[in-house]
Symmetry: D2
Subunit: 385 residues, 4 copies
């Protein structure tokens, strides 16, 4: 079994998610396609990096991410930084011949995305974006059912990603609210997950027509460099401007003729990680809500009329990735499990030398969609992707 040395850059909560996935993957999927060895982790300071190495089980820490890219023993560069560092690191890693797993969204801008896509293409390295939600078994089951034709031709799609952790104006101005770091706001941070799933399940986008808005225009400045997610509150100090969207909604014409809408907002009190998909086809419907992620709801038109209704299917061994996960349904799919599946597909792609999905090309296509959404938010008209 082949072994791959991993260098991970950025030590926030995503680093945790990726680290447990490297450890857990062979435990779940055995024989594993390969074994990942957590060699080096990079963070902003030596101290942070050393602490992260101990905490996350890496052999060493460094304050210089180029140590990772330059290390000839490293096979995989795993990018868990804020968006503004994706491009530079990914291009360097590609040039160094490393396989790359990069957190989403791919980059701040379409230009950056293009550069990254071109770099991995030129280098011929395996590349993947960490849109993990599409790897929830229930979403994979949706894909399987659609591909089988179980709900017929797709008529329409409706996706949402609603959150409230920053609905409070006193939630601090983390990097997620600063355009120079993140590129866009709710759109890039959460909306792109739904775009990824829409592309995965329905297909390519032809054009979009968007509403893009910012309701909370300033927030308390954040102290410290760590990402202020969750129930963190800003203090009474000075405030800074939010220059990205916190709400966006757009209509979609898919290339195959289906129609759709996607809404992403950070102002939806009571919604936490409310990623929903509703798909209507000529022969049935599918509904998914990540907050109840063990379940997929499916209605088959072919069921007899007196006993037709959405079936609440709990994913388990009979469903995609089920053999590797838990032996009965509803033992529990958590965030960890989605990341283990992601890791499995990434290592398998390397082992088999086949690009996984979503890769940087997909990320670039998603960025084109984001770009069209932002353009449409300004032009107030349908914009081609």
């Amino acid at each position: 079994m082949k072994t791959y040395q991993v260098g991970l850059i950025g030590a926030g909560f995503m680093a945790k998610a990726h680290s447990i996935a490297y450890d857990g993957m062979p435990m779940f999927f055995w024989p594993a396609p390969g074994m990942a060895v957590k060699k080096t982790i990079a963070d902003l300071t030596e101290e942070c990096a050393k602490d992260a190495a101990q905490r996350l089980g890496f052999q060493q820490g460094t304050a210089n991410w180029r140590d990772i890219v330059d290390d000839p023993e490293i096979d995989i560069v795993d990018i868990c930084t804020p968006n503004n560092a994706h491009c530079e690191i990914a291009v360097a890693a590609a040039e160094a011949g490393k396989h790359i797993l990069c957190e989403k969204p791919i980059a701040r801008t379409l230009e950056e995305a293009e550069k990254m896509r071109d770099a991995v293409k030129k280098a011929g390295v395996i590349n993947m974006l960490a849109f993990n939600y599409r790897r929830t078994p229930a979403v994979q089951l949706a894909k399987k059912l659609i591909d089988e034709g179980a709900i017929g031709a797709i008529l329409d799609f409706r996706g949402t990603y609603l959150q409230d952790w920053s609905a409070d104006p006193d939630s601090p101005l983390s990097w997620r609210f600063q355009k120079k770091v993140c590129g866009s706001g709710a759109l890039g941070d959460i909306g792109t997950h739904v775009v990824d799933m829409a592309r995965f399940l329905i297909g390519d986008f032809a054009e979009v027509n968007a509403h893009v808005a910012t309701y909370i225009n300033e927030r308390p400045l954040q102290t410290g460099s760590a990402d202020s997610l969750g129930n963190v509150k800003g203090g009474g100090g000075p405030k800074g401007n939010v220059d990205v969207d916190d709400q966006c909604c757009f209509m979609i014409n898919f290339k195959n003729g289906a129609f759709g809408t996607i809404e992403a907002t950070r102002n939806a009190w009571g919604r936490n990680n409310f990623i929903t998909l509703e798909i209507h086809g000529t022969e049935g419907s599918i509904y998914f809500n990540y907050e109840r992620r063990d379940e997929l709801q499916v209605c088959f038109a072919s069921d007899a009329g007196d006993r037709r209704g959405f079936r609440t299917i709990y994913t388990g061994p009979a469903h995609p990735y089920g053999e590797g996960l838990w032996p009965i349904p509803a033992l529990g799919i958590g965030y960890t499990e989605t990341k283990i599946v992601e890791c499995y597909d990434f290592i398998k792609a390397i082992a088999e030398n086949k690009q996984p999905s979503p890769n940087f090309e997909d990320g670039y296509q998603i960025e084109r969609i984001s770009d069209a959404v932002l353009r449409s938010g300004v032009s107030r008209a349908w914009e081609k992707v």
Copy 2:
């Protein structure tokens, strides 16, 4: 207590709903604002009308609706016909000085709606449109909470009305699929209910940006004149063209700055009468689903962070109209109860000589919105209402 003589025109399922409401209203709301007497019902033939009179408890039937309008004893004209007859009847009734309850949508076209609005205005008669869903106690509770500021300033609104009774292409071509009778399809038939609730809860619409589509372009011709709703199937005979929308979706800019979307479709397998409202405000959120209409879900931002979440409130005596309905929550709000509340407000409006809401002016405003939606469906651009 004053007594009002009712003449009802059209003997389909709406006539049933209105008839039981006239009988049940004083049983629920006592002392009643007035007593309705079911005097005359009109249907297409003498035989049908006589049968309807017996079935629905009217004193007499007639095949000529003008008998009702011309009857000086009649106080109220209740219009339960397909949309194509609304205008002629309503104008005649208004000219005859009758109070009018009219089924929704107000008419086939903006021109008809305008005529009707002008006629009742000129005649000074009480007029109301039967958008009953806004009278569900849970929707009324939503209104009360919003008006109290319980969820703060409204940021966005998302409404749906999804059905599947005609998702089968073999469902017959009833009048609801023929433009000359209905004016528009899913938009007018079901979408306007959501538009009415959006206006009620959020406020006036400034502009809309719409997608309007027809997926099932022909259906078996219907035999007989009755409305083919529900699980009726067409036979193997000839088919006719559907010339109205069966799906529409539009973005909304409200005049007060809130953003919204509304989607109405008849192609959503597994959704029956899936009227949902999701409203996000600066201080909380509201969710309603008519399929579970005894409940309103409300999240208050002011709840402590460790015990915040959507509250599932079952409406009962403590809520709007609760004193008149059932003595404890969840005994059951059905379609009948929504219509009894509607009847109560209508008779009260007559007794108090105050226009109820939604009245023909509201219906006209809704028709303006529908008109803008249809225009936008063609222009593919934002259209002012």
Copy 3:
């Protein structure tokens, strides 16, 4: 079409429910099996009775219920009084040859129930108990599926009836808390509904093993004779003893070998009319919750393993009584609709001269079960029914 003159005794909220059902029944089920004419209503005083007559649409009111029993024109005696009056009225009505619809539970004691059962048997009159919840279309669908063998042999049954309207110790001491009026508490008032559905769906009870308890032992005395249901609060005046159960729970061995439990409580904050049924069979499962009464959830073991799960079926035209109710699912089953179905079956039974179910014999059997439950509550042992 035959006409039946109705005399109704007791003018509380049940009188409202029955009155609207008499009016609405032919509107829903046409041709009706017969027409009910609301002739006389009896209440405690002349004034109350006259008021009730006007409110509920009876021709006349009386303060003497014997006027009804003695009226040779009356065909039907409808008993909507508290439990303590059931026996005397029913026996007198039976002796006068009247058909009888009686609210549940049949009586305060087994002895009374036996007298009533014997009286109607001797008189040969049609008799029915108003256990309306079993007539919810979704419960009828459960029955149909079980009878078809769709879920195989029944293994176990779990029923609940949880409420909270009197969970507050300040809720007044209405007749429902006084043994001399009601016979038993949560058991008779709400538990018997579940017993009725258990007998209907699963079969006869062989023995029970019960826990019976009273948590709130005194309540403010009620002022006035009306039933204090709902969100009524007692004042600061004197209190009286509660001498009936407010919580009971029992295990059941059915005669056919199935096992079950039933729990009824009035102390379940947040549960309003939480009547649930969960049934496991060798080939599937059924779940029902009256708070979401338009739905039945059914799981079929025979569904393929990768798409098996509870189906949420919304009842409509394709389901029991659906032809008479509303034309599409989820328009709304409310309390009114359950009572209309009940009325239909009662009038049909009279017209066809066939005893309906549940009749007084059923009520007597249910009372035997209640009696065994109360005995077991004392003996702390299995008690034969």
Copy 4:
């Protein structure tokens, strides 16, 4: 930071769950109370053990579990075997002075449980049972709310654990259906989880009154030694007898006066890991369903009557263990996360030299309850614990 060497015995799905927890714990809870080093894993054969070591990241494998107990470097013995091996291993480990984490239920019989309890007591080692479900953050939140008095005095408790993975009679005769290996069936395997949570949330049991049954009396013999869980089907070969319960239900009188019921069954089609808790107190109610484990539903009587209802609280950073888990609610609590919390509390207990809960004393008390349940199943009477 102290390091603990772990020896794990048994390499089935529980070994996977424990292994990922050892790795993930410091990633989630940092600074960790100590670091676990996965030294040795024992399985039935050398080959299996070596494979497990590689798969689960242990330094070595052995076919002889005594190698672990005898290894002076080992600090922790982690028992993931079927129930029949618990006692022998645990006693040996205790005698060798090892800290012990043991899968549930503690043993096959009360006698074994007593021996194990005595052994750890005598040895003074830290000991814990792996009843992980009580460590779901939502269950911990329930505990916190109860302890704060947020729902007042507890009146009653209703717990279920319903599954269907072996509802098919063709599901093979794994060790879970053989008394000599497992001790009891649904009771020990799943019911004890609910017993553990009932003791945790409500308190000690005084007496129980039980129904215990076996519906599927024989199953196909299993080939191979691995545990046949999930959607495994037996072949057409010979069958063997099931000599344990597959369904049990019991009433409980708690020592503090609360009443309860617990039901565990493996025959509930459509229920997968349906662990539910419903608790009614004088000031509120709590509902939990593990199939939707990110949520706790809580109703507070003190909420205003017109806005009272179950709150659906998604657990996150504001809730127990939230600081260590994911930064926002509904990112996802899976089985892994419950095991990481368990591991954290176990290692912390060792580091602090304080017995965790549930420990072997708790396991012994649970076994006493199981014993009383089985006795009551035979005696058909209340049995003291």
